[in-house]
């Protein structure tokens, strides 16, 4: 039970279980603020991040719990962050939208749509200028970001400077209530990449092996000095945009059509029918994930609040603890 397929499935299940619990905890007001669930889109983070090395960097959006988990940030620390506890991966200061982990080169958790693309470009620029050959920055963003000027500027810079960025567009068809159709004059996102002279292709974002395969292929190019690549992952979020969203803008049959393609159940069926895993194996993955999540909740519950006296910490240099990435 340790092959790459199992790992993909396990990772997707871990995200699913973790986030289902987050939704509950939000109802209980343990988690506050905004909470954006990744449920339905797990195959992207699981597949892409499986192809990254520990030297690569990840820059993500506010819908990043899955990416953080797969990257190896302990569920305990992620959950503590969602609670706002000092033991959280961002010291409790960030919450759900701002998960950070320097050690694992995980740079957020960014909540300005499109705002993190320049940052990812800059990380890659540093890698290139410091001759850290083979390193990549994977930048995740929704298709809504494509309309923002910052997307456009970052794409151009990454391309003109031939930087090692993997642009991962998680196209779940909606930006809050706005469909791609109604927000982009050209919905073929590959044409956007072409207009920056950047290779790009579209990938079934509901298939973890497809996402892993595409990432692997793209990363070969990027690591080899071929410059940035743009991948469009076609996916769907099964839940509302955030816990505040009544989700009235999507037709039930559209939702139904996509949920049939649930990346976890389809992959599970595929693996059992191929004889790779038994149902018992798969059940065990769910149990383990539940245990991991339960441990995370226990940890978060028991964790301490940051003393209020420390409010003004981490505004500017007061000690030598913070890092830049080496």
């Amino acid at each position: 039970m340790t092959g790459p397929q199992t790992k993909l499935l396990r990772d997707m299940i871990r995200i699913r279980v973790f986030e289902e619990r987050c939704a509950e905890l939000y109802g209980q007001q343990k988690i506050r603020g905004f909470l954006h669930l990744y449920i339905g889109e797990e195959a992207i983070a699981a597949g892409v991040i499986s192809q990254l090395t520990k030297d690569d960097s990840i820059v993500a959006t506010y819908r990043e719990h899955g990416h953080a988990l797969i990257r190896g940030i302990p569920a305990t620390e992620i959950m503590a962050e969602m609670y706002g506890k000092a033991a959280g991966c961002s010291g409790g200061r960030g919450g759900s939208m701002h998960l950070f982990d320097a050690e694992r080169r995980f740079l957020g958790g960014n909540a300005i749509v499109g705002g993190h693309l320049p940052l990812a470009t800059g990380l890659a620029l540093a890698d290139k200028m410091l001759h850290r050959k083979g390193r990549v920055t994977a930048c995740f963003f929704g298709e809504g970001a494509v309309a923002e000027g910052e997307f456009h500027e970052a794409m151009n810079l990454a391309s003109i400077w031939n930087l090692p960025v993997l642009f991962c567009c998680e196209n779940n068809l909606y930006a809050m209530g706005t469909s791609l159709q109604s927000s982009e004059s050209e919905t073929n996102l590959s044409l956007k990449a072409s207009s920056y002279n950047m290779p790009s292709w579209s990938v079934d974002g509901m298939d973890a092996e497809a996402t892993a395969g595409a990432a692997s292929r793209a990363l070969d190019t990027v690591r080899g000095g071929g410059g940035p690549v743009f991948l469009e992952f076609r996916t769907y979020r099964f839940r509302a945009h955030s816990m505040f969203d009544p989700d009235l803008y999507r037709k039930p049959d559209e939702v139904a059509k996509w949920t049939e393609r649930d990346p976890i159940s389809t992959f599970s069926a595929q693996l059992t029918s191929a004889g790779t895993l038994t149902q018992e194996h798969i059940d065990r993955l769910w149990v383990e994930a539940s245990q991991e999540t339960q441990d995370a909740v226990d940890f978060a519950e028991a964790a301490e609040w940051e003393p209020v006296e420390n409010l003004e910490d981490h505004v500017g240099a007061t000690d030598g603890a913070s890092v830049v990435l080496v």
Binding site: R32, G33, R93, H98, E148, T178, S183, Y249
Partner: protein, 334 residues
């Protein structure tokens, strides 16, 4: 002036919507645009349902492109429309500042007064909802700094209703700040019209003037109640307009009270509270019994956890404490 009638209770949100509706009914040139203003009804549900009544042309969804659609609103205003542009929150307005400052605020002047830009730009502001550092700004002071803009911050249901209407009648760009904590507040809508420039005394008092706006008004009123228990009679002034500032009303109050506290949800340094303190001091220097006290947000990006967020932004007890400093400061001096 007819005597104010008490209207039915309504919410701040509904009052804003009613102002928009009325304007759209009265004038075909009025339209609203922004991210998810149509079916979704706007992030804070202000435009809920309007697309059904007016169609998707006049309740116009935009892509995520704040500079683009704010600029388009400015252009549409120049072209003869009366656009209301909704920026989801002030946090995202940072992407549109070039359009607002370099175009909306300058074009009348640069053109020697040939053009005016009757655009209304609404945005939600304020912290208090545990949305952390990128979603909790209170940058009203930035806008209030810029000649060519008018900046208002309705704090009551009545002002939400009528200031928005007045903003839409104004021939120049008006920035309307809606505090996120107020949308669900409710009260009667008193009859309009109201003006866009004067401050309003929300509670009369004799010992101390508390100056506040938007989300800080109700906290100041509560602080004033508590101060009453300590035999301090506090007058509470709601600024309403952040540019221009109604210095006359502030000065008149402080001439009476000789003491002032300014409450501001923005960061303390180089913010709105500094202007108000400086202005009051300029106008009432020889009357002041103590330096004007600023109660403002702590100098830190707003953190996520409730207890830290609460500590970062002004609370009732901070206002009371500030007021007591001003009261005793002057006593120490007497």
């Amino acid at each position: 002036m007819t005597a104010p009638e008490l209207a039915a209770e309504t919410t701040y949100r509904d009052a804003l919507r009613e102002a928009i509706r009325e304007a759209m009914i009265e004038d075909e040139r009025v339209f609203i645009m922004g991210e998810d203003v149509a079916e979704y009804g706007g992030t804070y549900a202000v435009t809920k349902g309007l697309y059904k009544e007016f169609g998707r042309d006049r309740v116009r969804n935009t892509p995520l492109s704040e500079a683009g659609f704010v600029g388009a609103g400015i252009g549409a205003a120049l072209g003869g429309m009366l656009p209301i542009v909704e920026i989801m929150t002030v946090n995202f307005s940072l992407l549109a500042l070039d359009q607002i400052v370099n175009t909306a605020a300058t074009l009348r002047h640069m053109s020697g007064g040939q053009f005016h830009i009757p655009v209304v730009i609404r945005m939600t502001t304020g912290a208090g909802r545990q949305l952390a550092a990128q979603h909790s700004h209170s940058l009203e002071c930035w806008f209030a700094h810029v000649p060519g803009l008018r900046v208002v911050a309705p704090a009551t249901v009545t002002d939400a209703r009528w200031m928005l209407k007045a903003a839409m009648a104004d021939p120049d760009p008006v920035i309307v700040f809606e505090h996120n904590g107020l949308y669900n507040s409710s009260g009667p809508v008193l009859p309009g019209p109201v003006d866009l420039t004067t401050a309003e005394i929300r509670r009369p008092g004799t010992d101390l003037t508390i100056v506040a706006s938007a989300g800080m008004v109700s906290k100041s009123l509560e602080a004033a109640e508590q101060l009453g228990d300590r035999n301090v009679s506090a007058e509470v002034i709601d600024l309403r307009s952040l540019r221009p500032l109604d210095r006359a009303t502030l000065a008149k109050s402080v001439e009476h009270t000789s003491r002032a506290v300014v409450v501001d949800e923005g960061w303390r340094s180089v913010g709105l509270s500094a202007e108000i303190a400086a202005g009051i001091t300029e106008d009432c220097f020889y009357r002041l019994d103590a330096p004007v006290c600023r109660v403002a947000s702590r100098e830190v990006p707003i953190p996520y956890p409730r207890h830290l967020e609460d500590a970062a932004i002004p609370q009732v007890h901070d206002i009371v404490a500030g007021a007591m400093t001003v009261m005793t400061g002057s006593l120490a001096d007497v």
